[in-house]
Symmetry: C2
Subunit: 379 residues, 2 copies
């Protein structure tokens, strides 16, 4: 457990709740969770399953029909033919990470990741007594690990590279051919490629490629939480290379038994045309919010080196106002009731100069937040 830290934002969240109990209005822009409810089609499918009372274990790898649906989704969305036996349904993307590192990582091996990145990634690696090798990234590479950075930082004990496109916290993509080149680079070094694709679908400019378009020899982590709006249901998936099917099957049996049954049946309803149309409406609203927040933060004097193209985050440089973004976030919450996430939750590199804003609040709420933020900056 040494080195596994709680998220700093938890301290702010707790304080936010105290303030709310005291009657203060807090605008939440710290939460990595869509504010939309789960789509109706999915809810209805979940309720229909519950009506049967038959909520037994499923196969460890997941409902066969859900694995088939997910495989078909790769055909529809990416033009990739995928054997459903390579798809493992997991308790959220968290389960997919556990499974991916559990079957591929030996004690002492290193996984390369960008700094900044999502903090749990490092902790999954630590859990299996591996080590994370953080590589500082900035706007020059859109906060992503490029083929060049991977080649430059590769070590003899490197096991592989984890890449998230779109990225949390920056919302940036590794676009066009650069993504493919990064995968080729990892493979030419003999490493494993772990592709975190949990924000796929939530992309507003350009296009997020799946690692499966480049190679079959990749681990792909995805989830029904973000784009599909099913956070609390805990359903994600992992695609493994052929050689890892047997290991994934064994480990899933042992560490999960199975993913929640009612959630899996509900997730089946995600891929209907009606539901996909609803998700597209939500995507367009996120895009509008992204534009609104991005432009207004720039006006206030935040620097945003890369306009975010996906996810629902803006990673803003607040060095014009402070050199301690955690303290900045604390005071902003205390004085104005606006909750944001400090950079240090995502790594070390320039972390104290950055704040992550989540646009998981409506434009109206964000407009209020920006007014409060402006007042805060003028003090």
């Amino acid at each position: 457990m040494q080195g596994i830290s709680a998220f700093y934002v938890m301290e702010l969240l707790q304080r936010a709740k105290e303030l709310e109990r005291e009657g203060r209005d807090v605008i939440h822009m710290e939460i990595g969770e869509p504010d939309f409810p789960t789509p109706k089609a999915v809810i209805d499918a979940g309720r229909a399953l519950l009506r049967t009372g038959d909520v037994k274990y499923t196969a460890a790898a997941g409902l066969p029909e859900l694995r088939a649906c997910i495989a078909r989704h790769y055909q529809d969305a990416y033009g990739v033919t995928l054997d459903p036996r390579r798809v493992f349904v997991t308790p959220g993307a968290s389960g997919a990470f556990l499974l991916a590192f559990g079957i591929s990582l030996n004690p002492g091996e290193q996984v390369m990741m960008a700094d900044p990145c999502y903090p749990c990634n490092d902790n999954f690696v630590r859990l299996f007594n591996g080590h994370t090798h953080f590589v500082d990234v900035d706007a020059g590479s859109a906060y992503q690990l490029t083929a060049e950075l991977i080649a430059k930082h590769w070590r003899s004990d490197s096991k592989g590279v984890l890449l998230a496109s779109p990225s949390n916290p920056t919302g940036t993509l590794l676009g066009g051919n650069d993504f493919n080149r990064a995968i080729e680079q990892v493979h030419s070094l003999g490493g494993c490629f772990y592709s975190d694709e949990i924000y796929h679908g939530l992309v507003y400019d350009g296009r997020a490629a799946s690692a499966l378009e480049s190679s079959d020899d990749v681990f792909v982590i995805n989830s029904f939480s973000k784009y599909f709006g099913m956070t609390g249901w805990r359903v994600g998936w992992l695609v493994v290379p052929d050689d890892f099917i047997e290991a994934a099957e064994k480990l899933a049996q042992n560490i999960f038994i199975s993913t929640p049954t009612h959630s899996q049946y509900a997730a089946l309803a995600s891929f209907t045309p009606e539901n996909m149309a609803e998700l597209e409406r939500r995507r367009l609203e996120f895009k509008e919010r992204r534009d609104f927040l991005y432009e207004n933060l720039l006006k206030l004097g935040f620097k945003i080196a890369c306009k975010p193209e996906g996810a629902f985050y803006v990673y803003a440089d607040c060095s014009a106002f402070t050199d301690d973004s955690f303290e900045f976030a604390r005071q902003l919450l205390e004085q104005e009731g606006v909750a944001v996430t400090p950079g240090r939750d995502f790594g070390h590199y320039l972390a104290d100069r950055h704040i992550r804003f989540a646009y998981t609040a409506s434009v109206d709420r964000m407009a209020s937040a920006l007014k409060r933020l402006e007042r805060f900056l003028c003090r």
Copy 2:
């Protein structure tokens, strides 16, 4: 992954499904899952929550009201006062084991377990690069690790002892003062005590004590799956010693984010008097099945050294008929369509002389199974 094996019963399950597709009637006595549907009060609570559409992440440690309910359950069922902050809601008992070993075990440390025992336990330990130290047990100690066995087998690198009462596969308890003495023994050696209590509530003679009656310095793993009839919902819990609250909080944030929200709200309905009355009716039916199966297996010539007092398993010695219980199970399935679990899924010690029968089928179905079994033995 080396050393983590798939369950042997999976091969039989797959063959059973093939036979069923061919139109054969298979009687399932291999499955560790109650055949009853989830109780109506729980289903209704789950459906009511879904109706709101509000299936967001909960706190990593679980819904505060569910943690409070679980703590109160210890007061009601065991007379133990428990601080709800020590209760962590997890994705099934699997999640509780992950959390317990994740926060307490260092690479290379040993956890002592009985052979036979539930096969995943060893694999959770392996996952964190610990080692399992199996101690052969037999009817002389009711297939349990006693204080004497623990003292005799303790090593310098032992970290602790895992004890399951009632046990899977034997259904036996470590009763009366023996349980307390085992805990005291582990503590006097400076070890951690992990108490697997997932079959609590399903006890037909005597009484299963919680480790919390003996000490606050224990890890207790439990679940809504078995007694509460909620397998597919994936909700369990872990009680940790005070000193581990912070670590459990951090690790839960990182590896689960949260336990399924709708499942947690549904579980809240478990503790109502109406539901507890329904669970008591089911317990009495399990007791009737236990008596029926136990007596009839003895009549057929199986040896059962300890009458099982809990869970829903009979661990029967079949050495009068075979010295290869896996092959015996295979042929029993093939020739008579009765599925059981071979001893080797639970360890090595005398494993090929034992079969586990689960009484998760009605008395009528079991009567048919026993007729088929008799015919099989007479061939």
